[in-house]
């Protein structure tokens, strides 16, 4: 940790220029630092820190047509207190409300939470069900590209980003149907300051007592956060009878692969994920009063 070199580019182009010198070195991308600072003694001595917190293109929340663009450097509190996001993407607000504390959320960025790619990352499941896209910048080519968020994760805490690439924007298509129902619930070890044991984000459309479509993404129960396509397919078009709910619970148990760790066990996570699905489906069925 002695004499670590760092760069604080102010634009993406500047990052590209710096990168051409550094491509062969170990690079640590540093935004808010709430994760990196905890492990700072374990960083390789000769790693270069790229402090992206000052890059202009990573800032800001804006709406263009039917999409919301959130700069990856936006802090969790900036999102939480944004009236725009509160009105347009309540599921994301609900998720961020359960995260950490005021002190952490003033520093932690959405780009960091996604880029960390922890299966327990709480902004991830809402973004997956929202069908978000991720804009990525390559410092090597000085180009940006957009991928679906489903293509970003390839393992626990592993992304498909190439070396040096950074997330620049999170692009969320707005669902303009106000009959759509949102669900987010996080289960941790206590009510605040807790890492997710299991969680569920869901978006669904109910018409005439049947689920027209549903998108489901549980958290902390698979190597990567992903949509439960088989469960979604099964539920689609069905009336939510107890039998259907039980079958859905069975199918989701096939689609997830929870593990045992210091926080919980795989069998328990399996159980509560199924319970979350039931809780979610009942909420959809019976409305907010349930």
């Amino acid at each position: 940790m002695n004499r670590m070199q760092h760069y604080s580019p102010k634009t993406l182009t500047e990052y590209h220029e710096i990168y051409s010198e550094l491509w062969s070195k170990d690079i640590i991308i540093f935004a808010g630092g709430t994760d990196v600072m905890v492990g700072r003694y374990e960083l390789p001595q000769d790693a270069i820190i790229i402090d992206i917190s000052g890059i202009a293109e990573l800032e800001g929340i804006e709406k263009k047509e039917d999409k919301i663009f959130i700069g990856s450097g936006t802090t969790l509190n900036e999102i939480l207190y944004s009236h725009q996001i509160q009105n347009e993407i309540p599921i994301l607000i609900k998720a961020i409300k359960t995260m950490a504390s005021e002190q952490i959320r003033n520093r932690a960025t959405i780009g960091g939470n996604i880029g960390n790619a922890s299966p327990a990352g709480d902004t991830i499941t809402p973004l997956i069900v929202l069908g978000a896209e991720i804009e990525i910048f390559s410092p090597e080519s000085n180009q940006r590209r957009i991928i679906s968020i489903d293509e970003l994760f390839c393992g626990p805490c592993a992304t498909t980003l190439k070396k040096g690439e950074i997330i620049t924007k999170i692009i969320i298509p707005l669902l303009l149907d106000n009959t759509i129902i949102y669900y987010f619930r996080k289960i941790g070890q206590r009510n605040a300051m807790t890492i997710t044991k299991a969680s569920l984000s869901a978006i669904a459309k109910l018409s005439e007592g049947k689920i027209e479509w549903i998108r489901l993404a549980p958290g902390s129960v698979s190597p990567v956060v992903k949509r439960m396509s088989k469960t979604e397919e099964f539920i689609k078009g069905k009336e939510l009878t107890p039998h259907v709910i039980n079958q859905a619970k069975e199918i989701i148990s096939q689609e997830i692969s929870p593990i045992t760790d210091i926080r919980s066990t795989k069998v328990f996570r399996m159980l509560i994920t199924q319970n979350l699905l039931e809780n979610c489906l009942k909420k959809i069925q019976f409305g907010p009063k349930f």
């Binding site: 004499r3 005021e102 002190q103 003033n106």
Partner: protein, 163 residues
């Protein structure tokens, strides 16, 4: 690297490594020992300070982010009128025991009072404000009482502490 920042209204210049912690600059370099270290991981809130007018865990802020930063610590709050009122409420309500978490709680209290000025605050909102402050001694009850009492007093906290 050399960093110029402002701490409790005074300009300060320090020589440090990019990933050195704001907490150590405050406590060791500047010898302002009011801010405490309870965990070093941003979990306990004992190191809470204001950075550019926002509450942060100083154990997680790197020196490289401190260019022209405005830092206010508990040491810089003592002379304000509002501080006397906050202190009295905590004292009168028995909200202090070992005291190690207390400066962190005071900082979060100041922020809650500032944010909620003029508005009514629910118990849930009080509890949200202190999610990042851990106490092992008091069981939190008397802290909540002290804060509730302060919320009835319509205390004005300045938008910025030091101009």
């Amino acid at each position: 690297m050399n960093i110029d920042l402002n701490v409790n209204g005074k300009p300060v210049s320090v020589e440090a490594e990019p990933l050195d912690r704001l907490l150590d600059i405050i406590r060791d370099t500047l010898e302002l020992t009011g801010t405490k270290e309870g965990c070093g991981e941003g979990e306990c809130g004992a190191c809470t300070v204001f950075m550019n007018n926002k509450l942060v865990n100083s154990c997680l802020v790197p020196v490289m982010h401190l260019h022209n930063a405005e830092i206010v610590t508990i040491d810089g709050m003592r002379d304000f009128d509002f501080f006397r009122l906050i202190s009295k409420s905590y004292e009168d309500n028995g909200a202090v025991q070992c005291g190690f978490c207390t400066p962190g709680f005071i900082m979060s209290t100041i922020e809650l009072l500032r944010k909620s000025h003029g508005k009514s605050v629910t118990d849930d909102e009080i509890k949200d404000a202190f999610a990042g402050n851990i106490c092992r001694c008091t069981g939190y009850d008397k802290i909540i009482k002290a804060v509730r009492h302060l919320l009835t007093m319509n205390i004005t906290i300045p938008e910025r502490f030091y101009e």
